[in-house]
Amino acid sequence: MNELNKTLRLTIAVVAIALVFVIGLLTFQKPEVEYKLTPDVALSHLTDVNLMVNVEQAQEIIRQNDANMIFIDVRNPISFGRDHIEKAINIPLRELLDKSSLKLLRSLNEKGKTMVIYGETPQQASGAWMMLQQTGFQNTKMLNGSYTELGSKSDKTAAMFSETPMIDMEALKTLTSAAPVTEVQNTPSAKKTVIPAKVETSKGGGC
């Protein structure tokens, strides 16, 4: 009787453990997307020039019509419908990690295509690109410029978004030094002439 009790207890314990594992395995769902890069690696990719495409390079890619380079448009469908780069694929930012988008992105990835992400602003492109980089799409580059810059050649829009400092130190000096107020009012016109010259000192987004 005592012996039976012992074996009975043992089987109950084993069955209980087995149940815990089975239930655990059944309820555990592998998430659709996971981070493939640690934050440190993701951070190092931000300063990797090979992962950036500037406006000039993008225009060159469009001209060459390379089948291995695919443009991904992360703007909203309305903007995309109005106007977009030829052969670009529209995946709005908010749908970037949807099942259908992931399927498409993975198939492009398997075919060895390089994806160039562009958006309304470089900031929008950067968000989508960082998201893709961190979730394992290494073959992606971001357009370091806005969509509107691609069509036009004006530098005005470029200056609006670029990380080049546009601080007029001369205007600041006249402001902080003991100069009459009338001079301060002149600075706006002075500022405009100084900006282009300032550009060269600026470069070097990181070390």
Partner: protein, 208 residues
């Protein structure tokens, strides 16, 4: 014999539970990729230059401006009161302490808003709260607050009021020679320099 079995069962259960709990504790505060994407798509992290200036003028103690540009750019010009944490040392241990401070509204800024937004995304993934991005960056701040063009009298009242606010803020930061408030104006930038020195010393270890 009986005791041994009980010991073994307890051991197995503990290991089983441990395996179940482990993957969650490993990425303790990290938010899921899907949640990060939703956060990236949400523009509420952007604070305008005027909102920030207003808080600076009111000496809001909960505001912390973080300049993510290089030290040389920071030294040549920065928004008064900001500290410098270059993008590449944003994950340094000294930075984590600042980020973990729940009482501070941490606002990243760079020249435009691309680099600052990248710093924001990295920190957002790590689960930090109360972090923001200065929309337009220091370029916009300088070219709206420091350089302000006088609007015509025919402009709407809001625009004239906005100009007056910006003009006043500029005088607060950099002084107005006419009214002779030079003493006070000099004090503000000096203060900023002292803070920056401390900050650069602390963060220099992690970076280049």
């Amino acid at each position: 014999m009986n005791k041994n079995y009980i010991f073994l069962t307890i051991l197995a259960v503990v290991i089983g539970l441990g395996i179940l709990i482990m993957p969650e504790t490993k990425h303790d505060n990290q938010i899921k990729p899907v949640d990060l994407l939703i956060a990236i798509d949400d523009p509420s992290r952007f604070l305008s230059t005027d909102v920030i200036t207003d808080r600076l003028v009111k000496k809001d103690p909960t505001l912390l401006l973080i300049d993510v540009r290089t030290a040389s750019q920071f030294n040549s010009f920065s928004i008064p009161g900001a500290i410098n944490i270059p993008l590449d040392s944003i994950l340094a241990r000294s930075t984590a302490e600042i980020m973990g401070n729940k009482d501070l509204d941490k606002v990243f800024y760079s020249n435009a808003d691309v680099t600052s937004d990248q710093a924001w995304i990295i920190n957002k993934r790590l689960g930090y709260k109360a972090i923001y991005v200065l929309q337009g960056g220091v370029n916009k701040w300088f070219n709206t607050i420091v350089i302000n063009e006088i609007p015509a009298d025919t402009e709407p009242v809001e625009i004239i009021e906005l100009y007056q606010f910006r003009k006043g803020a500029c005088q607060y930061f950099f002084g107005n020679n006419e009214t002779g408030s030079v003493k006070e104006s000099n004090a503000a930038p000096k203060k900023a320099v002292v803070i920056t020195k401390k900050a650069t010393g602390a963060s220099a270890g992690g970076g280049c």
